[in-house]
């Protein structure tokens, strides 16, 4: 039995919703990515984009069910998004220090990028927004719904 068939059997939904979600999800995801990448010169940025990306997963979860969706996404990918985001963000901060500047002093990347200083800063910001913020937000916000929906049972070690 293929993965998608199993999902469909476990969680039946009206075909209209299923279809709508399938069509909508890529667009929502694209919109999220768009918002993430276009924070520099118009409203938006990593936070809003990250949330919208996570919303895609919400959409899937509400349509196909939480359990199958969380299996599909996989806890490892969420952990990698969240922890990886922190590592990238802090890493950029420490990298600028290694280059002789202060924490998050993007201008120091002039040493390795052949660009005018304000462009360098811009790329530094983009890196932080996309690799750091959007990743963390997307990872954690997805995880929050799965964790909350998973609940907390007495079987999980609650003392009487």
């Amino acid at each position: 039995m293929s993965e998608s068939e199993r999902v469909r059997q476990e969680y039946t939904q009206s075909p209209i919703i299923l279809t709508t979600a399938r069509i909508l999800a890529p667009f929502v995801l694209t919109y999220g990515l768009f918002i993430t990448f276009h924070g520099a010169d118009s409203p938006g940025g990593g936070f809003q984009g990250g949330v919208i990306i996570a919303t895609t997963v919400y959409l899937l979860a509400f349509t196909f069910g939480v359990e199958p969706t969380s299996t599909w996404v996989g806890h490892r990918s969420m952990a990698i998004l969240a922890a990886g985001g922190v590592i990238i963000f802090t890493g950029i901060g420490f990298a600028t220090m290694a280059l002789g500047g202060n924490f998050l002093e993007y201008a120091e990347f002039v040493a390795i990028l052949d660009l005018p200083e304000n462009e360098v800063v811009k790329w530094g910001m983009e890196a932080v927004e996309i690799g750091g913020i959007a990743a963390i937000i997307a990872g954690v916000v997805m995880a929050l719904v799965f964790l909350t929906a998973g609940g907390y049972g007495p079987e999980r070690g609650e003392e009487p």
Partner: protein, 180 residues
């Protein structure tokens, strides 16, 4: 600043929505009204020239918060609602009323809304610096992004860490080791 009708009606809307959230006994109703309140706020933010904030409030305040609240209610139970409205707790009304009065009293000392003499706007080394040099120094034109990721990137770093912290904090609270 002259007060526009849009503004007044929005203000009235958010206050009414807030009161509704406070007094509806049914939690689900309170959540729905609170979502409406958030959207009203988002519109108000747009009116106040803060599109970034409005977008975030719509996505996070109205979006994520509402979803989390609904999931929580689904995992627990809706408060049984024989009555529509909560019993009013008068001592708390007095406390909250006093607090409001004190804040309102200080409001008269505030600069008027939108005044370009207000130091918060006119401070040459802070706000005016951002408005003048954002592109020159950071290469972007959205000053909010510049302040967010460059000038005050460290705040944003902290903010991202807050989100990450909640992710792992929830793991600790629910006694789990992975994000499922």
């Amino acid at each position: 600043m002259s007060v526009s009708l849009v503004e007044v009606s929005l203000a009235a809307f958010v206050i009414l929505a807030a009161i509704g959230t406070a007094i509806f006994r049914d939690v689900m109703a309170a959540i729905v009204v609170f979502a409406a309140y958030s959207l009203g706020m988002a519109v108000l933010y747009t009116l106040m020239l803060a599109p970034d904030v409005a977008m975030t409030e719509a996505a996070i305040g109205a979006g994520v918060t509402t979803i989390l609240l609904i999931v929580t209610i689904a995992k627990t139970n809706r408060s049984s609602a024989e009555e529509l409205i909560e019993v009013i707790h008068w001592p708390a009304v007095v406390v909250a009323g006093t607090f409001t009065a004190v804040v309102a009293w200080t409001v008269f000392e505030f600069p008027t809304i939108g005044s370009d003499e207000a130091i918060a706007w006119s401070n040459p080394s802070v706000t005016q610096h951002y408005l003048t040099y954002t592109y020159v120094e950071t290469g972007v034109t959205n000053a909010v992004t510049a302040v967010l990721a460059a000038y005050r990137g460290f705040d944003t770093f902290g903010e991202a860490v807050v989100v990450f912290a909640v992710g792992v904090a929830v793991l600790v609270v629910l006694d789990r080791e992975v994000f499922t």
